[in-house]
Amino acid sequence: MFDAALFYLRPHVIITDPMNIYVCVKHVPDSAATIRIVEPNQIDENITFLLNPYDENAVEAAVQLKADSDDTDVIAVTVGKPAAIDTLKSALAMGADRGIHVVTGYWPDSIVTARALQAAIIKDGLPDLILTGKAAIDSDGYQTQFRLAAALDIPVATHVGSIARNDNSVTVTCGLEAGGEQVIRMRMPCVIGTAKTLNTPRYPTLPDIIKARKKEIREVSIDHLAIEPPDSRMEIIALKSAVQKRRKQMIAGSIEESVTELIRRLKGEARIPLS
């Protein structure tokens, strides 16, 4: 099944009409939630879940690209439990045109997620661009975008801070460690992992949310995608809560001396950029 699909995908280097931008989004726990581990490898999911904040940058980028092009379809895709449909609704309220929900009964690892995304996208249409956040705030794995690109045999760039679209390619700026940047040109289709610096995601208004209620969300069971089972997969055996170790430091002296010393320590040990 995949080989046949890729046969059609690979020659696809000329922009189709309309242009299809797929945005891969993940349903994740709110970063403000108190995460409680209830089983060795599970959390209590009775908390707020939302659209992965890094993926908001990807949705925003897609919607901005759509604004620059008259005939562009932005399709949000997610893989997850039934509740993940709420994340698709958030993406639709931000401006995506329609959604695809690959429904699972569990939270799959990045191998299965990438294969499910690949299958769902190919089943839906021919991608010109696939956008996603640089990572998900829950697993923080930085894997799915690369696995998806590899599965589709197309290029990928991550930590992208700017996107310039040409006729059948994109030029992107990728952030590197130590503040460096790399400018990359990729032929489309390609996968882009967006950085927080790329844009400021819009907040939807209630009219946007109402409009989104009428947009199509196609649900497909992961079992019906018949994805190839991986030879091996990751299994989370245990989760452990982060423990913040606090260290008390006493600063002696007059108020002036104490403040001076405090500022010195904040600038030095804590690396807080005080002016």
Binding site: I47, T48, P207, I209, I210
Partner: protein, 445 residues
């Protein structure tokens, strides 16, 4: 030998502090104790600190309007005391009460006329001129987004509003309590923090003092329960008090959201506090150009009664304590967004969760008890912040008169509101009253 005081106040919130202040001004040597680390750090800190006059009863309006005079003259009220944290500020935005089926605004208007509240009647056009971002269609009845009818397009317009120019909110509720504490200290009041009351002692005839968790005892012929959401637990420690109250209190969980203003609209500088019964919300400006949105407790909103100790200890269950719930975030922000359609609604909820000390009829209890010397300033029900300075004066007078022989149950104190000159029957706030069905049974009081 136990340390002795003339009066012990349990709770250093925004009502406990003014009681200490007024008693101290009357010559009482007071001790105020609190479980937390500083004044105003309990449910006061999460108060929306709204100062409005519209209440469902004449006495409610009168007391609130009296309160305006304190907030508007804050420094003088505090005796120009210095507070190292600075002074809270009254943000005099004015207060809009939208005329809707969600408020008995005709009764409010009538109450305003009786009390002499300064107000204007605004047409829809006048509201629009003042707040161009409001959509003034009628959205009644109040619904939640889970209800498909929530999204039905409106067909009618609202009638207008009653605008009270003296209304607004205090910039920092915790700081306001701290300010009053400093003012009380200037008159000799003492405050003790990080201590928990475990017993209210008596000698068989009257209250004699309190015992703390570490065993420390303080003696006083007067003890005042101002323990906020813990009020019912303190009442249960005092002999005969719980059973002697016809009106009870309990702790109600409540959420308030912070949602960004429409782009290009400076709500923080140009906005008004608004009571909007048509969508079951009230809202006011918040730092960061946000709308602070609270629920006016419409029938469609579930009520969640909790144990305050479990709530504050984080034992109320996942996502139930200090975290907004997604459902209520959407309910309140979407409802407010019907009025402000360009409001921006982030995917990630932001706001605060805390507890009301709620009475059976949402009207407070300012009263003596069946245990002589033990007094109550409880059941604030989310609507008494604005009355705090007045409650301080009322309680100080009530305590003084009762200690000098007044039988308040038989001949209720007639309390003169010193600024507006009106006298109210303090029996209105009696613990022995029957449930007052004139109440809104909501945060509106």
């Amino acid at each position: 030998m136990n340390k002795k005081y003339d009066a012990i106040i349990i709770g250093a919130g925004v009502i406990g502090c003014p009681i200490s202040y007024e008693l101290a001004k009357n010559g009482y040597k007071t001790l105020t104790v609190d479980k937390l680390a500083d004044a105003g750090m309990g449910s006061t800190a999460a108060s929306c600190a709204i100062v409005r006059a519209h209440y469902s009863t004449v006495d409610g309006v009168a007391m609130a309007y009296e309160g305006f005079k304190y907030w508007l003259d804050w420094e003088n009220y505090l005796g120009n005391v210095k507070d190292e944290k600075g002074l809270a500020r009254f943000m005099n935005t004015g207060s809009i009460l939208l005329k809707s089926q969600g408020h008995d605004w005709r009764k409010v208007k009538s109450n305003y006329d009786v009390v002499g509240v300064d107000y204007e009647e605004w047409s829809v056009e006048r509201i629009k001129e003042a707040v161009p971002v409001y959509d003034l269609h009628e959205f009644w009845p109040v619904r939640r987004p889970e209800d498909p009818k929530f999204f039905d397009p409106p067909t009618r317009m609202l009638e207008g509003a009653i605008f009270c120019p003296e209304g607004g909110y205090m910039s920092d509720p915790a700081l306001s309590a701290h300010n009053i504490m400093r003012a009380a200290e200037a008159h000799g009041s003492e405050f003790l923090f990080n201590v928990e009351v475990v017993a209210v002692r008596d000698d068989g005839n009257r209250v004699t003092g309190i015992t703390l968790k570490d065993g420390t005892q303080f003696d006083a012929p007067v003890v005042v329960n101002v323990a906020g959401p813990h009020s019912y637990k303190i009442n249960q420690m005092a002999k005969g008090v719980w059973d002697g109250c016809n009106i009870k209190t309990k702790a109600l969980r409540h959420e308030v959201m912070h949602v960004p203003s429409p782009e290009g609209y400076n709500y923080l500088e140009d906005g008004y506090h608004t009571s909007d019964g048509d969508v079951g919300c009230y809202y006011r400006p918040e730092v960061g150009n946000m709308f602070l949105i609270g629920s006016e407790d419409p029938k469609c909103d579930p009520q969640e009664w909790v144990d305050p100790d479990e709530f504050y200890a984080g034992k109320g269950g996942q996502g139930r304590d200090n975290q907004l719930t997604e459902a209520q975030y959407k309910a309140q922000s979407y409802r407010c967004a019907r009025r402000v359609p360009d409001m921006q609604i982030p995917n990630q909820p932001r706001g605060v969760v805390d507890l009301y000390d709620c009475s059976d009829d949402w009207i407070p209890i300012y009263d003596k008890t069946d245990l002589p010397g033990f007094y109550l300033a409880i059941g604030s029900s989310g609507n008494q912040y604005k009355n705090a300075p007045v409650a301080g004066v009322l309680m100080a007078e009530l305590i003084d008169k009762c200690e000098k022989g007044l039988d308040h149950d038989k001949e209720p104190l007639q309390f003169k509101l010193r600024h507006i000159g009106r006298t109210i029957d303090a029996g209105f706030f009696s613990r022995k009253r029957e449930i007052n069905y004139n109440s809104s049974f909501s945060v509106n009081g």
